[in-house]
Amino acid sequence: MADLLFLIPLIPLVASAVVLLFGRTVLGDRSAILSTAAVAVSWLLSVVVAVDIYRSEEAIAQTLFRWIPSGDFDVRVNLYADQLTAVMLLVVSTVGLLVHVYSIGYMRGDPGLYRFFAYLPLFVFSMLMLVLADNFLVMYVFWEAVGLCSYLLISYYFRRRSANNAAKKAFIVNRVGDLGFGLGIMFVFWTFGTVNFFGETGVFERVGEAGSTTITVIALLLFLGAMGKSAQFPLHTWLPDAMEGPTPVSALIHAATMVTAGIYLVARAQSIFLASETAMLIVASIGAFTAFMAATIALTQNDIKRVVAYSTLSQLGYMTLALGTGAWMAAIFHLVTHAFFKGLLFLGAGSVIHGMHDQQDIRAMGGLKKYMPVTYWTFLAAALANAGIIPLAGYWSKDEIILGAWISDYQPIGQIVSIVAIVSAFLTALYMFRLVFVVFHGRERFDPAVVHPHESPRVMTLPLVALAIPTVLIGFIGAPPEHGLYHRFVEPVFYDVEAEEAEAATYVVAQEGDPAPAGEAATAADAAGGDHSDGAYLPHEPSTAQIVSFGVISTVAAVGGLVLAWLIYFRGAISPVELGQRFRRLYDISYHKWYFDELYDGLIVRPLRSSAIFLWRVVDIDVIDAMVNGVAGGLAAVSQRLRQVQTGLVANYALAIALGMVVLVGVYLTAFSSLFR
């Protein structure tokens, strides 16, 4: 199986190249089928690989080639798939495949179809390579590659100015994060002399060799990269704007996969983060703040895709806060469940937009349930899952995050973020069901003479149904909490099983009342687990009482939000307009997205712009351009002169050769021979 690993990313790449070269001329609409088929093969292989890893419980590695052999800096392109990678492979290829199928319908008739179906598999390739990378540099290359695909696809409707601006914004904001990631990698190489992840000489095994300040700096720089890609505060502003891209793109790239690359990075580099409590504190705080802030903004937005986008931000915040409190498995679990239900939400939103003739404003919708039943029921399932209603997917993972934060080793921050997460869960249910009730129920607020809402074609509803199944059921791989199939599968990546057994042995021995061997066993445990003295790498076992009570608390919060939404937007018992008037300040802050865009505009964009204009008009044109043009002009003049040496007369050429020879012989015989000594 290991020999076939490279096919998983390669096939979408080939499809992308073929479509890019021949899509416009030869393939036409068949591009869509080709790309989808390629991703389907990739998906099949990913399933095979995942099953293989599940059976053998061992990572698969494949060496491809030496990329940069340059002294000590020896970078190879290897593929590495352990349980974490397997989970990511499944998520990326499954959602990728369904989005491809959906796009066949959604993009039908678009003149740039082939471009779309060239970029989309290119993205799948890059994302698969990102999760398969076994060193920081290869990961960074594909980190940038997914960013590029995201840029290309956001600006897919390149005639629309707002799409171009959104694409540029995404690219530029990500630059800040990527700069951090790049610096982090340089720091890693500087500190450890390698960029490889695994093995005896790899970075992760040798985290203990670095000083605590160095590790904190590395962790924070890596996290800066993760913040950019996973749209965490304060680098979150690009994600809502990125909704300018076609909706399938939003579903695949800006909800399910690319934006989780940051989460994946932190989870992958967990041993670096574990070594720095400061870094963990910052990760948890930023995650919690993002979760809360984005949830409040989502309450008042009127664009259906923006609401879902802010919901994505908020859920990414959940994942980040889980990482920051050491609840690694919960974070990745939420990543998985979120990929399905958020992908479904976006595709459902796309179906609504499609059926409403490209209308995105929810104030012009309402009562759509009877027009698009499939979209309604699948959207409802996704909304329930997102709101964390038992027993849908989101409940299990979100509950695990809240509980994991509460009982984590990082206190008091753990309990603070846990409470923030519960409050956000309430808000999540509120905004999700505001959306459901306003869009699908109530009065029809569109003009029936102009707009004829209709259900989307089979090729679009089929992926909705296909995604609804995991949205409802996938949570059960994590049930019972902390001991599900998922946990047993992923555990070896995050927790040193041997150390855990050693710990268990210590416990047993201590029970028997013999302190001396207990000490030895503890040392053994420490040796096996590295330098973490407090055992932060071990999962905390929540008691049954905790599991039940937190299940109740988060259910109450979610149901509370749901009921409130029902009261306001379905029953009309409370007037939303009046509420808005009553809490004018809060409403404005939420509606204007906490004024972040305005703040950045005033603090960064405008000063940068005016200094750029200065540099351009004065420094660039008058100084640098003048210099460069001078050099170029000089070179051209010299070139014209030298050109005339080529007279075309053989005698001149022979003379030049002879003269050259005489000069050489003269200089050398005088300087280096014993002739004139």
Partner: protein, 516 residues
């Protein structure tokens, strides 16, 4: 040193690849005369391709060998294999890109707006001459003594002179050939004169024995025997001419411009590869003890060549002339590999392997560039910059391929040309020639101007309604393969450079052990 004749029979199995090419050429001569007209062209093309590819397979079976026969005059070592493979790749590429040229001849746009055939080319003689030139170049790569080396160079060059004049009704073709021939004779005389001096001082024609003799004569005062130094300098001039190093490059623009374009593609690679093969054999193998002298010399010549080639290329509007100067510039880059040789080279010394890799890279991208011109010239256009106007909209794939070749010649990562330059720069830095490494980078920056100008013309100008070049399958396929190679070989360059490392290392180590 007495007359030590080796009376054992020569081991002809070592010379299989060279013999295959030779026999193929002779068969071509007969086939040209006897094959009926209907199958004439296809048969000859087929024989050529089969011959070269067969020789390449024979070479591959020889890799890893390190043997000599004919009393050391013929060597079958790693260097032979690597260089001969490059030469054969160039030969195959030439046959592929010249096929349609040979069928249709050179066409010109008449004053009445119609195309007419200006020069038809006899395919048989063309292939035979290419065959002899390839055979000669392979002989240089396998040479173990001065005589074989010289015969190889002359054989290769004489065939190329005739090829240059192949468009015999076009005056520039004949003129370029004449200049190339006269100056070539001049340079050959100098080269031969240098060889006689070396023979006179060392008393041997055999490269290893020359090295052995020289190793024992160093007086230790830092000064060299003037007779020896004179011989060395004459060799540098002679070889420098064959390489097209400044100031011995004057034949290049005229000959490149005048020759039929497929011939230009051929002569920009094969004689140059032969010249570098000769340089490695002569300097690294035979005159290794004098490496302190010749490395400085090559370094200075490399600097002058790079700067001159790139600067003058700026002023050219004729794309073939531009590529002629560009090939001079690339000679400069390749020479850096020679200049970076450190005395007593070891397997770790990256200089010679970087040189070998550069020639390989240069083969693909340069023949590719000329292939695109051939493609355009099919229809009487294609020599001047204006002929590339708007190619991206009329022939988009060809424009993409040309862009790849130009970017690769410029050294844009991750293309083949970038890696070639990278290895040469690393070798220069390893040899403490930082100034030379910096010059390569600056010269490459200058070269961006004329390479990118073609790209700009293709993409930003409007097509001006000249007759479109007709796609021909073999040629388009050849361009495609060369483009893909330019794109991919760089990324997967480390196995190739490892091979080059082993083989050039084997050469120097063998040279020294034989010398002791």
């Amino acid at each position: 040193m007495g007359l030590d004749l080796d009376l054992t029979a020569p081991d002809l199995t070592l010379a299989w690849p060279q013999l295959i090419v030779f026999v193929m050429t002779v068969v071509l001569l007969f086939a040209d005369a006897f094959v009926p007209k209907a199958q004439h062209f296809a048969t000859l093309t087929g024989i050529s391709l089969v011959g070269y590819i067969g020789a390449a397979f024979a070479l591959v079976t020889q890799s890893g060998q390190n043997a000599a026969t004919f009393d050391g005059a013929f060597r079958a070592d790693g260097l032979t294999v690597f260089l001969s493979l490059i030469i054969l790749v160039a030969a195959v590429a030439t046959v592929v890109i010249s096929a349609s040229y040979l069928q249709n001849g050179e066409q010109q746009l008449g004053s009445d707006g119609r195309l007419r055939i200006a020069n038809s080319v006899p395919a048989g003689e063309f292939y035979v001459l290419i065959g002899f030139s390839v055979f000669g170049a392979m002989l240089v790569a396998a040479a173990g003594n001065l005589i074989v080396l010289y015969i190889g160079i002359e054989l290769s060059a004489l065939a190329t002179y005739v090829l240059t004049a192949f468009a015999k009704r076009r005056l520039t073709s004949v003129e370029g050939a004449m200049k190339y021939f006269l100056l070539g004779l001049f340079a050959s005389a100098i080269l031969l004169y240098g060889m006689t001096w070396i023979y006179g001082v060392t008393g041997s024609m055999d490269l290893d024995r020359i090295a052995a003799h020289l190793a024992g004569t160093d007086a230790g005062d830092g000064f060299t025997d003037p007779a020896l130094l004179l011989g060395l300098l004459l060799l540098v001039v002679g070889i420098g001419f064959k390489m097209a190093a400044v100031p011995f490059h004057f034949w290049t623009p005229d000959a490149y411009d005048g020759a039929p374009t497929p011939v230009t593609a051929f002569m920009s690679v094969v004689p140059k590869a032969a010249a570098f093969a000769a340089a490695i054999r002569l300097f690294v193998q035979a005159l290794e003890p004098l490496s302190d002298q010749w490395t400085t010399l090559w370094a200075v010549l490399a600097l002058v060549t790079m700067v001159f080639g790139n600067v003058v290329a700026i002023a050219q509007r004729n794309v073939k002339r531009m590529l002629a100067y560009s090939s001079i510039a690339h000679t400069g880059y390749i020479m850096v590999g020679l200049a970076a040789y450190t005395s007593g080279g070891t397997i770790d010394d990256p200089s010679i392997s970087s040189l070998l890799f550069y020639i390989l890279a240069y083969t693909f991208m340069n023949i590719g560039a000329f292939a695109v011109i051939t493609y355009l010239q099919q229809r009487g256009v294609g020599m001047m910059l204006e002929d590339f106007n708007g190619l991206a909209s009329t022939r988009p794939l060809i424009a993409v391929a040309m862009t790849l070749f130009m970017a690769s010649l410029m050294g844009v990562p991750p293309l083949l040309g970038f890696y070639a330059k990278y290895y040469v720069i690393v070798a220069a830095i390893d040899a403490d020639l930082l100034w030379l490494a910096v010059t390569i980078v600056v010269a490459s920056a200058v070269s961006a101007f004329f390479y990118l100008r073609i790209v700009a013309v293709m993409y930003f100008n409007q097509p001006d309604g000249r007759p479109l070049a007709l796609p021909t399958r073999l040629l388009s396929g050849g361009i495609g393969v060369l483009a893909v190679a330019t794109l991919l070989l760089g990324l997967f360059s480390s196995p190739i450079i490892d091979l080059a490392d082993q083989w050039s290392g084997a050469l120097t180590v063998l040279g020294r052990t034989a010398g002791q």
